[in-house]
Structures are given as C-alpha cells and as structure tokens.
C-alpha cells in the first residue's frame, strides 16, 4: 500500500529523494512516464537498487567495458550463459569469475547513478512510494540482484547539475540517433581524442555513447562542445539517408534507427519512398515496425490519390498482419482497385473481424456497400438480416425473406435459419409449416448426400493411403535392393562382381516392376550388361593377341634352345664335357620345359665326378667299374644314379648324381691316420723335442715316445696321480716337465729324463723359458728363475697366485697374477715400471707383448681390440698366432685379426700346414682332422676318433696328433 503518491510536475525528484533520504525510509519508489516505469529501492534512506524502465544490460555492459573490468569475449560468453540460464549479466559474469563482488557493485553503482541522473530530465510523470517493499519484483529475488549503496544527496547534486546542462545540450543534440560529421578543415581538438576518433560520419550519437569510456553525460558534453567549437556538425538528411542505405545490407539493425530518425524529423514532408526503404530495412529486424512503416506509406499514397500503389502496400500488410481490421477496412475502401476474386476474401475477413469486434453499425455499412457484389448470395442476405435484426431495423424481414427465396432450393439450411429469425421477428412473416417441413426434408436429403459423399471420399482416401503405403513399402525395399546392387557394382572391377551386380539390378526390376527403383534397376542392368559385353569383347581380343604373341615368342625361344643344345652336343662330341655342361647350364628350367618330352629325355647332361684325394676308383651301383676320378657321366636331367668312390687308405663313399647336379661333383674321402699307438692313460699335454714326443696326463707320468717308431721308450712318475697333469715347456730341444706337486724334470734331446730345480713348496701354476733357463710360478705368488742346470738364479714375489707367464722378444718376463696385475720383470728379475692392472682375465701372452683375454679382446700398449673368444690354447709361428674359437680359428698378426670358420670347433690350437699343401690343420671336437684352406675349402679329412690334445709336425714331415683318450697317431700331409 502506497504512502506517497503524486506528479513530478508538482513534486520534483529532488524533493522526493531528499524526503526519503532524510526520513531514512525503506521501500520502493516507482516513477512512471509514458509507459516507462522506474523503480528505486531505498533502505534506511540509502538507494540500494534501481530498476530502470528500459533494458539496462546495455548500459551495464558499456560501464563494465568502460571501467576495463571485462573484455568483449567475456561479455559474449556471459551473454550465452544469460540465454541458457536466464540469470542477469552481472551474476553471469560473477559466476564465471570474470568480476568479483566488489567490481560488480562498483559497476552497478555507476549504472544506478547514471540512471538516476537521467531521471532528473523527466519533466512530467507520476510517482508512488511503497514503504517497506524492497523486492520490487519476484524476479529480483530469483535473480539474486546485487544490492548497492548510493547516497541520494550526492545523486541530487550531480543530477541537478547534469539536468541543467542536459537542457542546453539537448538544444544542440536533440536526437541521439543522428549522425555527427566532422567539419572539414576545422581544428581537431587535442583533448578527448578518444571520442573524436569515434566520429567517423557513420556512427550515430547513441553508438558513440555506447562505445565511449566516459559517462553518457560527459560524452554528450564533449560532443556538444565540439559542435559549439565548429569541429562537428549534424549530418544532413541526405547524408543520413546515404549512411542508412550503406548499412541496410550489412547491418540493418544499425540502419533502422537512422531511418526512424529521418522519418521522425521529416514531419509533413515525409514521403512514401523513405517509408518503403525503412520498411524493407525493418523486415529483417522487426515485422511490427515494418508493418507500421508500410501502413504509413499506404496512408500517404492513399491521401495523394494513388490508390493502386496504396492497395499494393495494403496487400503486403494483409500478408504481414493477417486479420488486422484497420488494414481490411483500408482495403475495403480501396475495393475498386481490388480484383474481384480478392474482394470476396477481404469482405469475408472484414465481416468476420467486425462481427468479432461487435461493431454492427460498421458491419451494416460494409454489408450495404457490398450489396452490388453479393446480391445473389443467400448467405449475404441472411447475414444482413441477422445484423439488421440485431439493430432492430425493420428492413431485416425483407432481407431474410430474400435469403429464404434465394436458398430454399439449394441451401435449405440457410432458408431454415432465415425462417427461424423471421419467425422470431414476426410470426406473421413465418413460412407455412408444410413449406418448412419440405425445407427440412430437403436439408436432410442434402445432408445425407453430403455425408455419403464424405464417406466415399474417406474410403477413397483410405484406399489411396493403403495403396501408397504398399507402394512406399515396395519402393523402400526396392531402393534397398538397388543400393545393394550399386554397392556390388562399386565393390570390385572384376567381371564376376559386375555380373553379380547385373543380377542384382535385374532382380530389383523383376521383383518390384512398378517402383522407381525397379525402373532404375532395369536401366542400370541394361547399362551394366552392355558394359560387361564390351569388356568381354576387349578382354577376348587382348587374350587372343597375347596368345599369338606368346606363341611366336615360344617358337623363337624353342629355336634358340635347340641351337644351344646342338652346340653343347657338338662340344661334348669333341670331348669338352665341362664346356658342354656350361653351355647346357645356360638354359633355364623354363627353357627345358619348352622342349617336347621325348626330346628332353634324350638330352644328356655331362657331370664330372672328382675326388679328394684324386685317383679314386668309381663304381656304378651294379659294381661295374666306371673309371678313376675324375670321370664324366652323361645323365638325363631328372635321372639319379648312385656311384661308389673307393680309394685305398680312405673310407668308401657313395655319391648320388643326376643331370641337374652341379657340373662338378667333388667327393671328399675321409682317410685314416697312418699309424696309431695307444698309451695306457689319457693325455693332457704333449710337446715335441727332436725326434721324441713328450706327454703328460693326470696319472702324473711323463712318457717319452719315439716318433719314428711311434712307441714309448721311457716313462717316469713325476707328479701325483689325480693331480692336474704336469706342465710341459719346450725350448731348444729340451722339455721342462713341471708337476703340480713335486720336483720338475727335464727331458733332454736324447730322451733321457733328469730332475731339475727345487721341489715345489706350493703348487706350480705356470712356467716358461727365459733366455737359456726356465721360470716357474706358483700359487703363492713366487716366481723363480732357474738356469739351464736347474740352479736358482733369482726369485720374485707377486703376493698373489701366478696365472700366466711369458718371455717376450725384448727379453722381458711378463707375469700376470690372479688379482689381474701385470708384473714386468727384466732378465735379472727386477721389476720394470709399476705393475699394471689388466681389464680382464688373461688367456695368453704373445711374444710381441700382446695379451689375449678370455673374453676375446687383445691388448697391447693400452689399446684394446675386440676379437672372438678363445676356446683353445694358442700356437705361435713366426709373427703369427693361431688359436681356436667357437666357430673356427683366428690368425692374429700384429693388430690384424683374421677369422675363419670350420664345420666343427677346434679342440686344440690349429697347426699351419707345410708350404706344399698350404692351409691349416684343424682338429675338430668331432674327432676329424681337416686340412682347410683360407677360402673354407677342405682339402683333406682324417678320421681321428676323438678330440686332439695337440698337433705337432714331426721331423719326417708328418703331422703327429696327440688325442685326449691317450692315443697317438701320425698323418701324412700329402696322401700318396
């Protein structure tokens, strides 16, 4: 309930605010002017919220931008939120976290102040104060509006100041929709440059206000000053129109206010052209505005007497605002310009509108005016009678009688209705009962006939629908089949795919003949069949051409093959089997297949059978003698024959040969050793001195074998049975035998055995020669040097078990201990340089100072070279060192490592063969001794039976082999 109410003319805003502020009032003050309503909420005399009459978000937006609180992007996103949730812009920004409460309150305060300042310009209006009502609307509660606190007194002072100035400004800037244009050659104001920059002859004042970073009042003040200073002027109507036209296509929303400003300013001189343009512009934005413009344009044209053009615009209006009574009235007035077919509809609509509005007088006028048009229409007379009856006009009777007269035959329901009204009007005027009865019957007949027609129509409709559904269903299935057929067609380019596609198309055509898809199926089927036929034809042609080409090529090739065969035959006849075979080998299997079978069966391929060693006797499978190797056999391409190759001293070998075998088939004959002698115990070490072979084994016995007789001549127990076999060191035809425990012995050149040096105090672990004497190392780290008589020369202590020793070419003695230290000693036992730590466990020291490690690396002068891992001891021959590896053997010469592979890993260090044979003797762990060349070719194989312990070349040129099982054998280097 309000406590304060009045008019602004009597009680100004200033007094209102002062009163409410001083009274510390709480409530809502509502101010209203020309449908615009503003609500100001007071809480204990302070303004906490202002609800403006117009949409306020635009202002808040500009304030937020002006204060640089948000970006355009933030506002766009917040607007999206607004659209989705319906929340206020400020709340949306707050929830997005773009602004905080404080910033929003500041912006809202500025907004409220500006809105209040605007109110001071209101010179008329009403106000009403609702005490204790602070939620102006329920919507505010829902939207959780942000409350601010504005002091009304400060608003009053500033508001009054601005109001005074606004009055002056408004004299120059009356319409904010107008455009300002810079005056050419006028001085450009130095200050407020940002606003000056906005004036581009395109923007309206309102646009400038929106974009300005200062308040609306300040912006307008600045613009006012620019105009006063002559820097700016208002655009002329022509310029405005030009700008508006420029905006029509790209931004009609910008153009429309310009047009409206122009229309408002035109006054009496307003022409329909401007209105038409404005209407076109408004079409895209606001149909109501567009209608208003067209209506005004039609009005102007009608006033000017251009009824035709006026009717044209009214026609647009009838479409834009159907049923608008004013438009219909205007159209009816212009009925002379309207084609007859449109008059009826306009009249009907007008009548309907007037009846709905209850304007019977106007309706009667319209009906009377329409008499000329509808004189023969019973319905017209009924309507006119009804209206007249309502208006209690006595003319109603005659109208109704006329309606009865016109309708009694064809439209009995109208006649009956008219009669009813007539009866009400005056029972005297009522029709005869019989006549009424007749009319009723007639109506019933017409009704039943109408119903029948309706039913028939319904039945036809149902049938049509069923037919349509069936047809659609059939069409749908056919379309499915057609799509499948198309898919088949596109799935592959092969003929089979295309044939399948044709079948599918034809199926569509036969199964659904009355459908669109069926018809397409027929067309597509024919097209594809034609395509297939064409393709078949071209393929057939290509095939025939190809066959002819192949045939001619084949004949040519056959001629060539026959000439090669004839050439080979003549070569073979001349005795040159190898060349003949090479000629035949130039023919491929494909070439041979071209030959007729009888011809191929008669073709013989020469194969040379050779043996290693040569001169072996070759027998056929029936034991008939073929000849001594090498022999030549002529065989058919697929004919396989077996031959036996025999040679004295060698194991018999069988070989299968066919025409497709290699031109030369080599048979390697494994021979046996020349002589063999078995010692009673296995052998671990052996050494050759002069004509004697010295062996030791784990039985602790040293045996001296005469190599000429291959028979032991002497033996002596030097070590303990079960201990590791005594070591053997050969030098200058003497062999030092070092037992694991006990006293060493020396085997002289003549085979005699003598004790040598001291008895071991700890197990001897290694020994080597040094100058004319010997050096022994033990597991206690002691190194002793004995001269040739076995007397001690010097001693050295390594403080770690000795693992390896060797004397070098430079007369140094290298000692390696288990801690991996290398001790270099001179010939007098003095240490040379500091001991060196080695990178791994040493396997061998070579005379040139190279160390071979167990992991295969070799080391010399601090340089490591990777190599294969040794699996045997090494043998030194001149500058070359040989040792066995897991895959073969290695020759180490200076820094170069050459690797060779064998079929079986070696069991002992390989032995270089004599210069006559060349190659390397390698005893494999498979018990076969092979003479192998560097290219991997095996020249000779000797079956030993067990892995060899060592290989020696005896003085008579034979290879002496010591086997691990205790056998000794000698092998001829060159087999006789």
């Amino acid at each position: 309930m309000s406590s304060l109410k009045g008019h602004l003319e009597h009680f100004g805003l200033q007094e209102l605010l002062q009163t409410l502020s001083h009274g510390a009032r709480t409530g809502t003050l509502q101010i209203e002017r020309d449908h615009e309503k503003v609500a100001i909420v007071f809480e204990t005399g302070h303004i906490t919220f202002v609800r403006p009459g117009t949409a306020s978000q635009i202002r808040l937006r500009s304030i937020l931008l002006r204060c640089d609180m948000v970006s355009e992007q933030d506002l766009l996103q917040a607007r999206d939120d607004q659209k989705q949730t319906g929340m206020l812009l400020g709340r949306a920004l707050l929830e997005r976290g773009v602004v905080d409460d404080q910033q929003l309150a500041q912006a809202l305060r500025l907004k409220a102040e500006e809105e209040l300042f605007d109110l001071f310009l209101w010179e008329h209006g009403t106000f009403e104060f609702f005490p204790d009502q602070i939620d102006s609307t329920a919507e505010d509660q829902v939207n959780k509006i942000t409350r601010i606190q504005v002091d009304p007194m400060s608003v009053i002072i500033e508001g009054l100041r601005q109001a005074d100035e606004w009055k002056i400004i408004r004299d120059r800037i009356s319409d904010l929709r107008w455009i300002l244009i810079p005056v050419p050659d006028a001085p450009i104001p130095a200050e407020s440059h940002s606003i000056w920059k906005m004036i581009d002859g395109q923007r309206s004042i309102e646009d400038i206000l929106k974009s300005s970073t200062v308040t609306r009042f300040d912006t307008c003040s600045i613009l006012y000053r620019f105009i006063e200073e002559g820097s700016l002027r208002e655009a002329t109507a022509g310029e405005m129109l030009q700008v508006a036209r420029g905006f029509v296509s790209k931004s009609p929303a910008t153009a429309l206010p310009l047009y409206q400003a122009l229309i408002d300013r035109a006054g009496e001189s307003l022409g329909h052209e401007l209105l038409d343009e404005a209407a076109d512009c408004a079409a895209a934005i606001d149909p109501d505005v567009q209608s208003q413009m067209i209506r005004r344009s039609a009005e102007i044209l009608k006033n000017r007497g251009d009824e035709f053009e006026s009717w044209n615009r009214l026609q647009r209006l009838l479409v834009l605002c159907p049923g608008n009574m004013e438009d219909l009235k205007s159209s009816w007035i212009l009925r002379k310009q309207i084609p007859a077919r449109r008059i009826d509809s306009i009249l009907d609509e007008l009548v309907k509108s007037l009846r709905r509005a209850g304007d019977h007088r106007q309706l009667l006028t319209v009906l009377r005016e329409a008499e000329t048009v509808r004189a023969g229409d019973a319905n017209y007379w009924l309507l006119r009678g009804e209206v007249l009856h309502r208006c209690k006009d006595p003319e109603a009777g005659s109208c109704l009688s006329r309606a009865i007269q016109l309708s009694k035959n064809n439209q009995p329901e109208i006649a009956l209705r008219a009669e009813k009204i007539l009866r009400n009007l005056d029972p005297e005027l009522a029709l005869d009962e019989n006549l009424v009865e007749k009319l009723r019957k007639r109506r019933d007949i017409l009704d039943s006939s109408r119903k029948l027609k309706k039913k028939a129509a319904m039945a036809s409709l149902v049938l049509a629908s069923i037919f349509l559904i069936l047809h659609l269903s059939s069409e749908w299935r056919a379309q499915g089949l057609l799509a499948a057929a198309k898919k088949i067609e596109t799935s592959g380019l092969e003929l089979s795919s295309l044939l399948s596609a044709v079948e599918a198309y034809e199926r569509v055509a036969t199964e659904h003949p009355w459908t669109f898809a069926g018809s397409s199926g027929t067309t597509e089927g024919i097209r594809l069949r034609r395509q297939i036929d064409n393709r078949r034809e071209s393929e057939q042609f290509a095939l025939e051409t190809n066959l002819n080409k192949q045939r001619s090529e084949r004949i040519q090739k056959l001629v060539e093959v026959r000439s090669v065969i004839s050439k080979a035959k003549s070569q073979r006849k001349a005795g040159d089997a190898t060349t003949a075979r090479a000629t035949l080998d130039s023919l491929s299997d494909e070439d041979l297949k071209m030959l007729p079978e009888i011809e191929l069966n008669s073709l013989l391929f020469p194969v040379v059978i050779t043996s290693k060693p040569a001169g072996a006797r070759i027998y056929r499978s029936d034991r008939s003698f073929l000849g001594k190797s090498p022999v030549v056999v002529d065989l058919r391409h697929d004919e396989v024959r077996q031959y036996t190759v025999e040679r004295s001293g060698c194991r018999t070998s069988k070989v299968s040969v066919s025409g497709s075998s290699n031109a030369v088939v080599n048979v390697s004959l494994v021979r046996g050793p020349l002589r063999t002698y078995s010692l009673p115990n296995p052998v671990n070490h052996s050494a050759l001195t002069g004509k004697f072979l010295v062996t030791t084994g784990r039985d602790g016995t040293v045996r001296i074998i005469d190599t000429a007789e291959l028979h032991p001549i002497r033996q002596q127990q030097v070590g303990v049975e079960g201990h590791p076999a005594p070591l053997l060191v050969e030098k200058s035809n003497r062999v030092l035998v070092v037992p694991f425990a006990g006293r060493p012995v020396i085997v002289e050149e003549n085979g005699s055995i003598q004790t040598f040096g001291p008895t071991a105090t700890a197990p001897w672990s290694t020994a080597c020669h040094l100058q004319r004497g010997w050096v022994l190392g033990d597991v206690e780290g002691n190194v002793i040097h004995l001269n040739s008589n076995g007397s001690l020369v010097w001693e050295y202590q390594c403080k770690s078990p000795i693992t390896l020793m060797a004397s070098l070419k430079n007369k140094e003695l290298w000692v390696i201990d288990k801690s991996r230290y290398l001790h270099r000693l001179d010939s007098d036992g003095n240490q040379v340089g500091p001991k060196t730590m080695l990178a791994g466990d040493a396997a061998q020291i070579f005379p040139d100072g190279r160390i071979l490690f167990q992991n295969g690396f070799t080391w010399k002068s601090n340089q490591s070279t990777p190599g294969p891992k040794p699996v045997t001891g090494s043998r030194n021959e001149g500058n070359r060192n040989f040792y066995g590896t897991e895959r073969g053997w290695v020759v180490l010469e200076s820094n170069r490592i050459k690797k060779y592979t064998t079929s079986s890993p070696p069991s002992c260090a390989p032995l270089q063969a004599s210069e006559k044979t060349g190659g390397i003797w390698v005893a494999g762990i498979d018990g076969i001794l092979r003479l192998q060349q560097a290219n991997g070719e095996i020249d000779s194989e000797v079956e030993l039976g067990s892995p060899a312990v060592n290989l020696h070349r005896s003085s008579n040129g034979q290879i002496l082999v010591t086997l691990s099982d205790g056998r000794l054998c000698d092998v001829e280097e060159l087999q006789r």
């Binding site: 201990h723 770690s800 201990d817 990178a839």
Partner: protein, 296 residues
C-alpha cells in the same frame, strides 16, 4: 648420577660441536661432546657397534637405546657422545627424523667440507640410504666429485658393486680406465669392487698377500687340526669304500679325477683338498682324513 652427567655436559658444552655429523666423520673432530647420526649394528652388553665407526662405544646407564623391533634394519639414531678416558660414551639417544631430512641436511654440508670429510659423509649417505634409491643418490653425488671422479667411482664400487647402475654409468661416461684406477674390476660384463671380485674369484687377502680361499683354509686346517687329521687318516677302512683312511689310489679308482686340486705342506705332511662335484675330500699323506659335502 644424572646430575653428575648433566654437570659434565654443561662443563663440556663449550668444547662441543653444534652440528650433527655422521658416524663416519667422528675422526675429524677433537671435541669432547659430539652429536652424531648413526645406525646401531650390534650391541654386546653395555657397548654398541655403530655403522661407519670402527670403535665400540659405551652406553651410559641412563640412556635408553631405541630398539630395532620388527624393522628390517635398525633405525637411524641421533646420538650425543661424550669422550671419556676409556673411549666414547653415549649420553643421549633418540630416533632420527625422516631419511629425507637426514639426506638433505648432510647434502647441504657436503660442499663446505674438505675432500676427506666429504668422502666420509658420502660413504654414510650411500650406506644408510634405502637400497632402492642408492643408485640414484650415487648418481646425484657426481656433482660433488666432478674434479675427482675416481673417488666417486670408489664410492660407487663400495656401495653398488656388480649393480647395473654402476656398470651403466661407467659405460655411459666412458670411465673404464678411471674405474680400473679406482680399483674396480670388470668381470662378466659388470663392474665389481675389489672385495666382491675376490669373493667371486675365491680369493682372500691375508696380511697383504692374496691367496686362494681354499688354500688359505687348508693352511689354517693344517695349523689347527693336524693331529686330528692324522688320526683320522690312520683309521682302518673297509676296502672298496670311500671313508677316512682310504688311500688316494682307491679314491681315484672309485671316484675318478677330481675337478680341482690344491695342496699345502705343513710340518712335512702333505695336505690335499680334492674337490668333486658334490663332495670335498681332504687327504693327508695320501690317505683320506675327511669327506665333507661341498658348500654351495
């Protein structure tokens, strides 16, 4: 007694070191009172053995040493030690804070210490760090030893011997030559510390002399048990059976050649050890004295 201890503490407070140091650093300080961090390795009676400190340390009767409980390793403790005429005595003990704090506090001290002390701190950190993070810690310590990488490698060898990270870092930084200078051994594609290499190779170092471990044991056996061995070897034996008193020849004929043999001579007796696949046979003067199963 407590008041006496407190009095001593208050008197000595002037000569005490304020910072908490590691057990490995104690030798660098000549103060009478010292705060250390250490792990208790063993306790015998009233004295304890600390990790990284060779001397045994007495425990004051008032002090309660934190127990190991169910922990896998004894806890790291902060100890206050007082120098007594008889040696160091623990006067206060409490469980140390988290390892991360210990690590960061000692790590900060590293840069300000001389090389030897820095090395001791690193030894402590690597020894006491959790096994899983030791490699990473050692790698981090590289920054402390840029000028002396051999020391860094020695630290790695001491604490990460044969571990993959040690080998990987040496290979990656191409420090093989320096690793050998640092006394590391490359064996079976891994880098080993000297001690571990000797263990793998069955070597023992006695008085600066490297010996085969079996040989060293055999020597010791001869030294201690010669008479017993002689008595055993003279036992009558059942022919065809391997037992004490059996001759070497019979052993050979029944069991064949041994895989490894070593012998020592002691007081004119030859003592041998023959290793078979599962048994170790000791022989004195050609007769078996003991047969023992081979240890793994």
């Amino acid at each position: 007694m407590i008041s006496n201890a407190l009095l001593t503490l208050s008197i000595l407070i002037g000569t005490s070191s304020n910072e908490t140091v590691t057990a490995d650093e104690v030798r660098y300080f000549d103060t009478n009172l010292i705060q250390i961090q250490a792990r208790i390795e063993d306790r015998i009676g009233n004295s304890i053995q600390l990790g990284g400190f060779s001397e045994r340390v007495a425990v004051s009767p008032e002090v309660k040493i934190p127990r190991r409980g169910t922990r896998e390793r004894a806890p790291l403790v902060n100890l206050s030690m007082l120098r007594q005429p008889s040696g160091w005595e623990i006067v206060d003990a409490k469980i140390s804070t988290s390892w991360d704090q210990t690590l960061s506090s000692h790590f900060e001290r590293l840069s300000s210490k001389p090389t030897a002390q820095r090395y001791s701190i690193c030894q402590f950190l690597l020894r006491e760090s959790p096994t899983g993070s030791r490699g990473q810690l050692w790698r981090t310590l590289t920054t402390q030893w840029i000028t002396d990488p051999i020391r860094w490698l020695q630290l790695g060898g001491d604490h990460l011997s044969s571990e993959e990270i040690l080998t990987r870092e040496i290979e990656r930084k191409n420090l093989q030559a320096l690793a050998m200078k640092a006394g590391l051994y490359f064996h079976q594609d891994r880098w080993f510390s000297r001690d571990q290499f000797f263990l793998v190779k069955k070597l023992a170092e006695i008085d600066g002399h490297v010996l085969d471990l079996d040989r060293a044991r055999l020597k010791k056996l001869g030294e201690n048990d010669l008479n017993r061995m002689l008595i055993q070897s003279k036992k009558n034996n059942v022919p065809g059976e391997i037992q004490a008193g059996t001759s070497r020849k019979t052993l050979l004929s029944l069991w064949g050649d041994p895989s490894q043999v070593t012998w020592v001579r002691w007081q004119n007796h030859m003592i041998e050890q023959w290793d078979y696949v599962t048994q170790v046979v000791r022989i004195i003067d050609g007769r078996i004295c003991t047969i023992t199963p081979k240890a793994e």
